[in-house]
Symmetry: D2
Subunit: 343 residues, 4 copies
């Protein structure tokens, strides 16, 4: 069993991490950290547990530590991090310098040239950027990132279509409130409403997608040169990001070929990788957040409504933003790190 | 005062028509029709009044007639119609043949070559297609259509940009449940959910927009040759359709020029035409359905988030789907018909 | 394995019945019925499957039969029924006359003097009313009812307090939309709204509760003489009925004693009876529908906020209305029928 | 024109106060205060304007002052206060000592024996407690309170029934999120959910109602001796508190008499007092928050579903919590102060 710690364990993604890691066969929760207000208190008191399964007994009475390498035991082998990006930018390098391997969901550093940004089913080879990272930074540990929740939703479907050479992508998102954390969206902002803006989100989809589908030659990562334009919206759903995607490819691509490519896109032989990875739904009006977000225990991507347009293809896709798009993404990266010998 | 009748007066749009027409200075409600179940009953009983202002006293006790030209008095000069398209397709021609002028919100016949599809601020000259219609069909009356609620939202913003020669448009919609009528979307379908499909809606946006921005030479109407691709979603909002738009133009178009063109796009000197017609909002995250749908008493269009993309422009726009997008659209067409001497 | 049939298998409760029965160790789904429109079609087509787990393969292609004893095979031993009460009133007696044992969720006949109305943990002895029923009606089969979903929520908590002699009960309900079936509440009725009336519901709580807590002497059932007054509200939640309860008892009852009585209220040794049956929550503001409806796999009742008032006790309680309150209630009654030798 | 100031002008109730006071015939907005973060900034920047009408031009550029008597000009005659209770407890006495008349919506000091707690239509005579207040405290100014939003909803209906001698009241509330202010309820707390607890709220209904219906003999106020028990719930509505009420009276009271008493309960001749004050609705399922909260421009109370129970009466009532229940309540108290010569 790999001993793991969770940075930011009391937040929305932190709670999901506990929910996923507690029954995990390979990982054993050995440390929980939070902000200094919570440090020293039992987890049960420090966190307002809001996940839809009861708080695990093994975690409830564990004392929360400060988010500081000195406060975490040395025999922890793997750190999952879900911190506000400003905190992550400061704290994560400290953990890595102290020798920890960090699988992080925080948005800081995702686009740095020596930081692997990984969806295991999509670009597992990018993990070897860690060699470059260690060389350049002199770090013992390692820092791996998973992308933003809304990036994770559409990139797998694009990954299935790269053989046709993607030139342009337009993507509109309908994002759930949990993506902003427990206090991120107030009820008065979102009831009977929608907000056509999420700070910094458009850019994350536009840049992270090009890094994920970029080429890594062992030394350097080159961004994919497709042009991506995103428009992000918050809507009154709890979980599950739905996205409308338009793709133009250099080679002719029929809806049938696209569906077949998505359906046959391979899963990975890791505990949290679902099979199938991408569900292609034929019923009109699917996928839908409430009905389809738990496919593959929340780790699958769903696609549907695949059609031709005047100059390409359009379709809809969906994933569970706090499982596949956040906590589950980090756990899966942890499993990849273990599988590839980085632990 | 022009004496007006309302076909389909008990439905969601019918109730809005009554709300708008009852205080109207030029129109006097003289007839209400509904399906045969309701005919003969007082309106108060036939309709389950659900608009947010009380049912007008002058209407409450009026007897509902059958939706049939023989059941409507000859001294009615103008008919507003909001019927299911299958009913409209059958009934509206009968009214026009009987000599009535019909301003219709129903979706049937919108794309027929001799039926004017009009947003008064956008293409008032298309109204003269009525001459062609009368010639061809031998009708005494006239049939004018307003477009679909989701078409009305984005076409005004495009109309402001035609000087730059629009080539392609991508539009994703976040549509309110009222667009489907009172019983159209069940609560179990939409609470904590979104549905990436509205039957027939994508095509309406794609074709109606090209007709509205088409050229009419007095004899024939040529569709605009821009390519439009739409992806329509239903979300849990009550009123107000929000849309994400991407536009590519032949000539270079900056966000500033686009904003200026929208802001200065002229209103019309008709009672229900708001001034300004298009509100350009600079605050991030606007327009929003709940906050902005009542601009211009629900008759204005709002736009915001105007930005450059890799190959054009993107922005968001909004209008009130049952006022500007339906009942108010028909009333405004009625005002145009009056102004241009068709009554 | 007991071969079971489901009447009304395509509706909201019917789908839940399939979800619960398909993996059941004692029951084997052998027949599905629906209205004549659906009869003869494969279940996959006849039902619009909307439960949050995929449609079971074993059910998807089964042909739906008409809701008629002649259309159901004789080797079916137990019928679960979830029909509109008007249909149930007509069809259920026909099934029982034909010799079937029927565990019904439909609201017809619940208050008839020879029909057992049963929550197994609360009044299992009432099941023996079936002897009276058979005697009086000359039936080979049997008809057992579970109560209304909102009755099931608060009656278990009252059952725990009967030692103190309940005199009066006031109960206000906050009920989820699924209680009205898939099409029962439109989105325009309930978004940003609440409705302080559910047709016939107040009376169901007031009378069914007195029958459930009534005394059965082997021959006759006497209603409990507590006075119950209910006020029922529909609110915009998907699943889970929350109720505010005030109880006045003849003997002094402290919040602590009430909590202890609820917590120790026994579960039953039947597969679907959860242990504990009643969860007493100490955290302020619990139970809540979204967080607590799945306790005990949706079969538990939760209570909280227990406090003294000027003249008694007040508390809140919750159960999952389509599992414990409907489909699961019928399944549990089926398990009781099997356990007590009625099958 | 009376020159007025608003303490806490940037909050949810503060914005409503501006919306109501800006067009007011007797009041002229002369000062706006907020916390020290906002002081010195133009209102447009300090407040995130979220009311459904545009920010008044006359207010947008006004500089926000600190919430301190020294920061407010002496020629302000009347102060409206909507502050967190802890801030109000500290700041309001300072304003009154400095000579200002304060009409406050803040919850501090409501139950103090020399502070009038007033709903003008219900207990205008209590205003003369101000004489006692001035005597006891040696204040030049005056402090008047309006009750909690959920108290205001049901007390007017009780006031109409006092002739029958009310003995006990049970009330369950279904409260809108705006009652907690803009950030008070997060979307993750309330979407698809309800919360059966609002901190301190039960007690407010139980005590404030007895003060409002208490007797003032010119020297001392005696609480009404009815027993009130409240159970408060938060639900996913934006505005409008709906309440289920049970009343037991010493004298027999029929639903018809109760309805007649409510309908004929007099309005006041003050600008913001609506006529009728209480709307009695006969349609089943009314009043409803979304449909009925704006009756009387948001200042009326609606009642419906009046029925007999085993030992009394039950009914539902509704008012707009941020208009009649907060900002409008304070404005109306200001009008009463003006009318009775306290300004």
């Amino acid at each position: 069993m790999v001993r793991v710690g969770i940075l930011g364990a009391t937040g929305a993604v932190g709670q999901r991490l506990i929910q996923l890691l507690e029954p995990h066969d390979d990982f054993d929760i050995a440390a929980l950290t939070a902000s200094s207000d919570s440090a020293g208190r039992p987890y049960r008191e420090a966190a307002k547990w809001r996940v839809d399964t009861p708080i695990p007994e093994s975690v409830a009475d564990r004392e929360v530590a400060a988010t500081d390498p000195d406060a975490v035991s040395d025999d922890v082998d793997l750190i999952f991090s879900s911190l506000p990006s400003s905190v992550g930018a400061e704290v994560e390098p400290a953990f890595v310098e102290a020798g920890y391997v960090v699988s992080s969901n925080s948005s800081n550093a995702r686009m740095e040239s020596d930081v692997p940004l990984v969806i295991p089913e999509v670009n597992p080879d990018h993990l070897d950027l860690l060699e470059v990272q260690r060389d350049e930074r002199g770090w013992d540990g390692a820092l791996v990132k998973n992308p933003n929740c809304s990036t994770i939703t559409f990139v797998p479907t694009l990954a299935a279509l790269t053989d046709w050479e993607i030139e342009t992508v337009h993507v509109a998102t309908l994002q759930a409130v949990s993506g902003a954390g427990y206090g991120g969206v107030t009820s008065m902002e979102i009831l009977d409403n929608a907000i056509p803006h999420i700070g910094g989100e458009d850019e994350k989809l536009e840049t992270e997608s090009r890094k994920l589908l970029g080429a890594f030659d062992g030394a350097e990562l080159t961004l994919n040169d497709m042009a991506v334009s995103a428009s992000c919206n918050r809507i009154p759903t709890l979980d599950g990001h739905l996205e409308n995607v338009w793709v133009e490819t250099a080679d002719d691509l029929s809806p049938e070929d696209a569906a077949a490519a998505m359906e046959s896109y391979p899963s990975l032989d890791l505990p949290s990788s679902p099979d199938p990875f991408i569900h292609v739904m034929e019923e009109e009006g699917r996928p839908q957040p409430r009905l389809d977000r738990m496919l593959g225990d929340g780790m699958a991507v769903a696609a549907g409504g695949i059609e031709s347009t005047h100059s390409g293809l359009q379709y809809d896709c969906l994933s569970h933003n706090t499982i596949r798009g956040a906590a589950g993404a980090s756990v899966l990266n942890g499993e990849l790190l273990l599988d590839r010998g980085y632990l």
